[in-house]
């Protein structure tokens, strides 16, 4: 724990006070689940590091006072986006005598959208797990306060891009070292969640955020939950379709952290292909794609699969679970050990998939090409974004060259058979 970097350490006593007096004093029953989670807090053993350094906080335990003081620490700058259950604003923590202003994202949870009596499940989950998980590769929840009309505001660390933007921006090439570095950071974040007994359940490129210094962080814990007790049902309606593992399509009610590993395996493919590996249009189509590209689940390669509640036998040709040959051909660039890791992450039988910890032990990470240091990873828009914009502005529309005396070259360009996007 000591070696993990994180937000500035504060004295635990302060953190305690904040946790104990989470400000939901509107008296309509909202404080029950949250005070329960506050009490449960210590179970995860995460080292609580909150950047509240105002030592005067512990002087006054009155929840309303504390809330006002927390609220005053931040200002709202502008709206970044609006989702189904929250509005995200860019803001910053006001500069204090000792610290400069820090940009933050303030997520304001809409009350009474779905749930008539209280806040949405997603918000509860987000607060519940982010309060506990403190790791360099997991987004940090800095503070929680309530606004004047009793809306819940989560103050999150501000991260300016996500992995999806990088994948979609085909103007820059991603080296294997870059991909390795992102996979390594994602796996570390995931390992930390699993080690803290939390399943993320929505791993996908746009939930893997990138800080300005290149560090990748897991975000959006709106679907997360802690590991279930035996015989306790879990829902199978989780994880974005393209990244959902086969057991959930078969309606499995008992699953484990291996669902996250499968999702991350597909993100790995996407990083290499630069396009989603299995983009299904419907749940059934998605299952079809899985059968087609990874293999058809059968009792042989997945003992017990037919006993899953939603199982139905696949019609058409059975595809054997794909072996090394297929993966090597499709993902040649990953190299031998990379393909091996990918195969382990994408096994059909969830019990055969590797854990995040095992994945981290893969030879792939310690071999050449070495993971790129986060600071030199490609950024959104490329390193020479401004330069590019500058040169584009100088040029006339529809022309490739700046000088007028290149008529001959234009003809040559039309004759260019190179498919390289000329």
């Amino acid at each position: 724990m000591s070696a993990t970097a994180g937000p500035p350490t504060s004295s635990i006593a302060n953190a305690t006070v904040i946790r104990r007096t989470l400000p939901f004093g509107n008296g309509n029953g909202n404080n029950t689940p949250l005070s329960a989670l506050a009490a449960e807090g210590s179970a995860f053993g995460g080292d609580v590091k909150l950047p509240n350094d105002d030592s005067d906080l512990s002087d006054n335990d009155d929840p309303d006072d504390l809330n006002t003081r927390t609220k005053k620490k931040y200002t709202k700058d502008r709206k970044l986006g609006e989702g189904a259950y929250a509005v995200v604003n860019l803001g910053h923590r006001r500069a204090t005598a000792t610290e400069p202003a820090v940009p933050v994202a303030i997520k304001k949870i809409k009350v009474n959208t779905e749930f008539r009596d209280g806040i949405t499940m997603d918000a509860i989950r987000e607060v519940k797990y982010l309060r506990e998980l403190h790791h360099p590769n997991v987004i940090a929840l800095l503070d929680v306060f309530s606004s004047k009309n009793q809306n819940l505001c989560l103050v999150l660390e501000f991260l300016d891009s996500d992995l999806e933007m990088i994948i979609r921006d085909t103007s820059q090439t991603l080296s294997m070292g870059d991909i390795k570095s992102w996979m390594l950071m994602a796996l570390r974040g995931l390992w930390w969640c699993h080690k803290s007994f939390v399943i993320h359940r929505d791993i996908k490129p746009n939930n893997l955020l990138l800080a300005s210094n290149g560090v990748l962080k897991l975000a959006d814990f709106g679907l997360a939950r802690s590991f279930a007790d035996p015989k306790r049902h879990m829902t199978h309606q989780v994880i974005t379709r393209w990244y959902r593992p086969p057991e959930l399509f078969y309606g499995a009610r008992f699953y484990s952290s291996s669902v996250d590993i499968f999702s991350l395996g597909l993100v790995f493919c996407e990083l290499m292909l630069r396009t989603p590996f299995l983009p299904g249009n419907t749940d059934l189509h998605q299952l079809e794609l899985i059968c087609q590209w990874l293999g058809t689940p059968t009792e042989e390669n997945w003992p017990g699969v037919s006993s899953l509640p939603g199982y139905h036998e696949a019609s058409g040709t059975l595809v054997k679970e794909r072996g090394t040959d297929f993966f090597t051909n499709t993902f040649l660039a990953a190299g031998e050990s990379g393909v091996e890791l990918l195969m382990k992450m994408l096994r059909l039988d969830p019990r055969k998939r590797c854990s995040a910890r095992e994945a981290l032990d893969s030879k792939w990470f310690s071999q050449e090409p070495y993971p790129t240091p986060p600071a030199s990873l490609p950024k959104k828009g490329g390193g020479k974004g401004i330069e590019k914009v500058g040169s584009d502005l100088k040029r006339k529309a529809g022309e490739l060259f700046n000088t007028p005396d290149e008529r001959g070259k234009k003809v040559a360009r039309k004759l260019d058979f190179g498919g390289g996007g000329g």
């Binding site: 210590s42 053993g45 499995a252």
Partner: protein
């Protein structure tokens, strides 16, 4: 008046006749609406890469503005869209078609010689590509050929993307290189101009000096002096020129390499330290350890339940969680919370405990 109209109509008919008789000069008359350039000097012809049937711009507007529709040429059943119409680049429609097909093929079949172990295999591959192209061009086994292309595309997804990226990078590099060379030429020219101007100036100066020397009391000695000075100056100048040319030459070579290294961004080699999977985290448990199996009828039930196991539920994870939670208070001291808790916990199994809760 009526006579004038008749004569105009006759003139149009004649023009049309002429145009057709001139061996159907394709550039003069639209095959669809038969209007000729004689009447509409701004007529432009467009083709659609679906079937390459030529028609004039007004025909395209007329037929396809309402959305996709069938090609008006008799016997052609292709459905065309207005958006796809474009100006013909080559006079010969076959060439136009071939360029399009080759462009498309080159996008998919973009392997390079270095992707193959031997020249023979590369040549075989090229042969194969050429066959595919030929088939497409001459409409031989279109379905089988298309299937072949799709299959190739599927099985080489990643290498196609990689090669495309590589090509884009090379192009960028070539562009930069060209810019750089232009700059070098400009500088070389400037240098030459400068040298010329300097020489001219020196010559003029020398002449003036000579005249001055001849006016002097002792012309022979003065002239000798002036000549000597001029020689010295010219040799100095030559030396200077040579030095600058050398500098230019050096500049031409050196920065080119810099370009290269900037463009082919290579990941920093040599790992700074040994790879640590968990980034310095201490994974040891000081107060407890996990067993592989815990006896309990309740757990046995879950252990043997097929539908629980098939979904990937791992009882081991449940054991770990249960044991962890049971022991998570060990190692925390409640009496003296502020100081103890302020220390960073040493390992994972000593979570912090709030005295206040």
């Amino acid at each position: 008046m009526p006579s004038l109209t008749t004569s105009t109509a006759a003139a149009i008919a004649r023009a049309r006749e002429n145009a057709i008789n001139r061996g159907g000069d394709a550039d003069e008359i639209c095959p669809v609406c038969k209007s000729s350039r004689y009447l509409n000097p701004n007529m432009r012809f467009l083709v659609n890469p679906e079937c390459y049937h030529k028609m004039c711009e007004s025909c395209v507007d007329r037929l396809f503005s309402q959305g996709p529709s069938q090609c008006p040429v008799v016997g052609c059943d292709k459905i065309l869209r207005k958006q796809k119409f474009r100006k013909q680049t080559f006079e010969d429609i076959q060439v136009e078609k071939e360029v399009d097909v080759r462009k498309r093929i080159a996008k998919t079949f973009n392997k390079r010689q270095e992707d193959f172990p031997s020249l023979k295999e590369f040549n075989d591959y090229l042969e194969e590509v050429e066959t595919v192209t030929f088939n497409l061009l001459n409409s031989i086994d279109i379905n089988a050929t298309e299937a072949k292309i799709t299959a190739f595309e599927q099985s080489n997804k990643s290498s196609i993307l990689q090669n495309a990226a590589k090509a884009a990078q090379e192009q960028q590099f070539a562009l930069a290189q060209r810019e750089f060379e232009k700059e070098q030429h400009r500088r070389a020219r400037e240098l030459e101009n400068e040298i010329e101007a300097e020489e001219k100036r020196d010559k003029a100066e020398h002449k003036a000096n000579l005249l001055k020397a001849l006016e002097a009391d002792n012309p022979d000695a003065e002239v000798a002096k002036v000549n000597k000075m001029a020689r010295k100056k010219s040799s100095m100048r030559r030396e200077n020129q040579e030095r600058r040319a050398r500098e230019l030459e050096a500049a031409r070579n050196a920065p080119a390499f810099q370009f290269m290294s900037n463009l082919n961004r290579v990941a920093e080699e040599a790992p700074p330290e040994k790879y640590d999977p968990v980034d310095g985290f201490d994974e040891t448990n000081r107060y407890f350890m996990y067993r592989d199996k815990y006896e309990s009828p309740w757990l046995d039930d879950a252990r043997n339940n097929k539908s629980i196991l098939a979904g990937g539920y791992l009882l081991q994870q449940y054991y770990e969680r249960a044991i962890f939670e049971a022991f998570s208070g060990v190692g925390c001291f409640i009496e003296d919370p502020t100081e103890e808790a302020a220390l960073p916990s040493e390992s994972f199994d000593t979570p912090m405990i709030d005295s206040a809760v």
